[in-house]
């Protein structure tokens, strides 16, 4: 129901925030615009909302172009990163505000009923007479969402909704957000830089970098089948290991190991591989201690994080991490041999394109 076509945005100072972006969002989907700072995700959200004007391209809601339409006529709700709750009004007044202004003002009594219905939905009824300044971050956020929903828009836009909350709260509230928007059935787009957050609750992720879409996919696929090096590095915590290697005839060579190309699964090659330099990517959980493996390294440090153990070692000066179960009592200083899960290895060309 939302289509973004050939969208470009260049700011007055020459900065190209978005360079030719195309995507579509279905009704009822919960989509995440993900990416590092400066990738263009917030710009994209603001363009969809009508707070910015595109330099070129179109944005359509239900087939109709909206780029010349005011935000209030686009039938959207917006949750700002700093919540933008009107400080001089109570929670109830904040939530009733959209219903009491504009072209289709409602009567105060009617507005109150609608407001209360949504306050029940988000569980903030007992806060209704408080002022935003007295609320906690999580509470303010819920008020902001309620206010965004109260006009029953078709699309809900959230700009980094969780970034001002502490870690524990973030985990709790992101689930609540997903549950809420699915219950109401509203198409939702949210912006974040936290890949774990995106992976956890989205139906679909659009990963942006440098004003371009790097990959548009469902979360699991983004993790398992990254289309390029950037995606592989951005998704996943701890970050993927990647090593510079060279393919010479049938061997995959690195300063500290030499693998036969035959161990790599034929069907997984996206392109035919020729001699040359590449990057090899392997996630920490896919490189594991093994009695006889092709890789060997001395453990430099061990991180114990609850249920996992992260082993840090070096291969010819490159730092590598391996994640094992905490029961595996490998200690610092041990020489260990490692093996790779070949179906999970990635090979990228030097400009990041996924080859295997």
């Amino acid at each position: 129901m939302i289509e973004v076509i050939g969208l470009q945005k260049t700011f007055d100072n020459g900065f190209e925030a978005l360079k030719q972006v195309d995507f579509a969002i279905e009704r009822g989907e919960l989509v995440c615009l993900l990416g590092p700072s400066g990738c263009g995700k917030s710009t994209m959200l603001n363009l969809i909302a009508g707070l910015l004007q595109p330099t070129d391209g179109d944005i359509r809601f239900n087939g109709q172009s909206v780029i010349k339409t005011e935000p209030k006529d686009r039938n959207i709700g917006f949750v700002f990163q700093n919540y933008a709750l009107y400080p001089h009004m109570t929670v109830l007044e904040n939530i009733m505000f959209p219903l009491l202004v504009g072209d289709n003002k409602k009567k105060k009594a009617e507005a109150k009923v609608i407001a209360e219905k949504y306050m029940d939905l988000t569980n903030i009824k007992e806060l209704q007479n408080k002022k935003p300044g007295t609320l906690s971050g999580g509470q303010q956020q819920r008020v902001a969402i309620t206010r965004a929903l109260v006009q029953e828009p078709e699309v809900l836009l959230l700009d980094e909704p969780l970034s001002n909350l502490d870690a524990r709260l973030r985990l709790k509230i992101r689930e609540e957000i997903r549950r809420l928007v699915k219950e109401v059935g509203i198409t939702t787009i949210f912006v974040t830089h936290d890949q774990e957050e995106a992976l956890s609750i989205s139906d679909k992720i659009i990963l942006l970098e440098d004003g371009k879409i790097q990959q548009e996919d469902d979360p699991q696929n983004l993790y398992l089948e990254p289309e390029n090096l950037f995606v592989a590095k951005f998704i996943g915590n701890p970050i993927i290991n990647f090593l510079p290697i060279e393919v010479i005839d049938d061997r995959v060579k690195h300063a500290s190991f030499d693998l036969p190309l035959s161990h790599f699964i034929e069907e997984r090659f996206k392109k035919s591989i020729t001699n040359g330099k590449y990057y090899l990517g392997i996630r920490p959980e896919d490189i594991f201690p093994s009695d006889n493996g092709p890789l060997k390294g001395k453990i430099q440090s061990v991180e114990l994080i609850g249920r996992e153990r992260i082993l840090h070692f070096e291969l010819a000066g490159e730092r590598v991490k391996s994640i094992v179960r905490v029961e595996n009592e490998i200690t610092e200083g041990t020489e260990v041999t490692f093996n790779l899960a070949y179906p999970k290895v990635f090979l990228f060309s030097l400009d990041g394109e996924r080859i295997y």
Binding site: K72, F78, A84, H88, P98, N104, Q151
Partner: protein, 272 residues
């Protein structure tokens, strides 16, 4: 050593404090003396009995009530007009995006450098040509807005996060609804400061009214006071009473709102 410095400083401060406040105190006391007491050598500090009759004499000799009404009316209208026009202009400059915005800002800042005394005479000319001398209009018209307060409010509004405006727009509010229901409540301190300072400066204005009014019906308090002084020659006690009358309303406002006034001036170096 430090104690001597402290003692000396406090003495210094007290002395200067007295020098600052004393004229006001004496204004009130002197206005309640008889002519003889006021001009006595050595000077009287406290009159034998308070001569409230002085005030009656003042009202008899010059229409101070009319002056008071004029000044109140003109100051009120000027203040209202200035606050409204400056707020609307500042809203446009701080919140809306439009081409040539920078041009307008730069233009306004450069206009700030023109001393009001340079244009006051030409303005007199304009008013005279329009046949508006000796009228309330003449007193109010040039002061319907203030470049300085537009600049001040624009800066103040800029510190209010843009997202409030954006949220209100998405909520469906029109610009006027935003201004009335969100902007004004959120910028109350600044608006109060602008209002009070405009009122005070309008109340104390002198040169412009001097130019455009000499009819007693339209004269303002300050000018009425100076006219009274020259007309009443040596009746010092009456002059002091009249001066007290002029100053009293402002001093009252000052004591009630001194926090807002001082904060407003201190924050932005507002010249009256």
């Amino acid at each position: 050593m430090k104690k001597i410095v402290t003692l000396f400083s406090l003495l210094f401060l007290t002395l200067l404090g007295i020098i600052t406040v004393f004229p006001f105190i004496y204004m009130i006391l002197g206005g309640l003396m008889t002519y003889r007491e006021a001009t006595s050598i050595p000077p009287t500090v406290i009159p034998d009995s308070f001569q409230w009759v002085n005030y009656f004499a003042v009202f008899e000799k010059a229409p101070f009530i009319q002056y008071f009404i004029n000044t109140s009316f003109v100051s009120l209208v000027t203040t209202l007009a200035t606050v409204i026009t400056s707020l609307l202009a500042a809203f446009a400059l701080a919140t809306l995006e439009f081409r040539y915005k920078k041009v307008v800002m730069v233009g306004l800042i450069s206009l700030l450098m023109i001393p009001y005394e340079s244009i006051i005479f030409t303005n007199y000319n304009t008013i005279a040509r329009l046949g508006l001398l000796n009228s309330y209009t003449a007193l109010i018209l040039p002061f319907l807005t203030s470049i300085f307060y537009i600049y001040y409010l624009t800066n103040y509004l800029k510190s209010i996060s843009r997202s409030f405006y954006q949220a209100a727009k998405i909520d469906g509010a029109s610009d006027m609804e935003y201004i009335k229901k969100i902007l004004v409540p959120m910028s109350k301190p600044a608006l109060v400061t602008v209002g009070i300072l405009t009122f005070i400066s309008s109340w104390n204005s002198f040169l412009w009214p001097l130019l455009v009014t000499n009819d007693k019906r339209f004269r303002l308090l300050n000018n009425g006071l100076s006219a009274f002084t020259s007309e009443s020659g040596s009746d010092v006690h009456l002059q002091l009473a009249a001066a007290t009358l002029t100053v009293l309303p402002i001093v009252l406002i000052y004591f009630i709102f001194r926090k807002e006034i001082i904060q407003g001036v201190a924050k932005n170096g507002i010249k009256g």
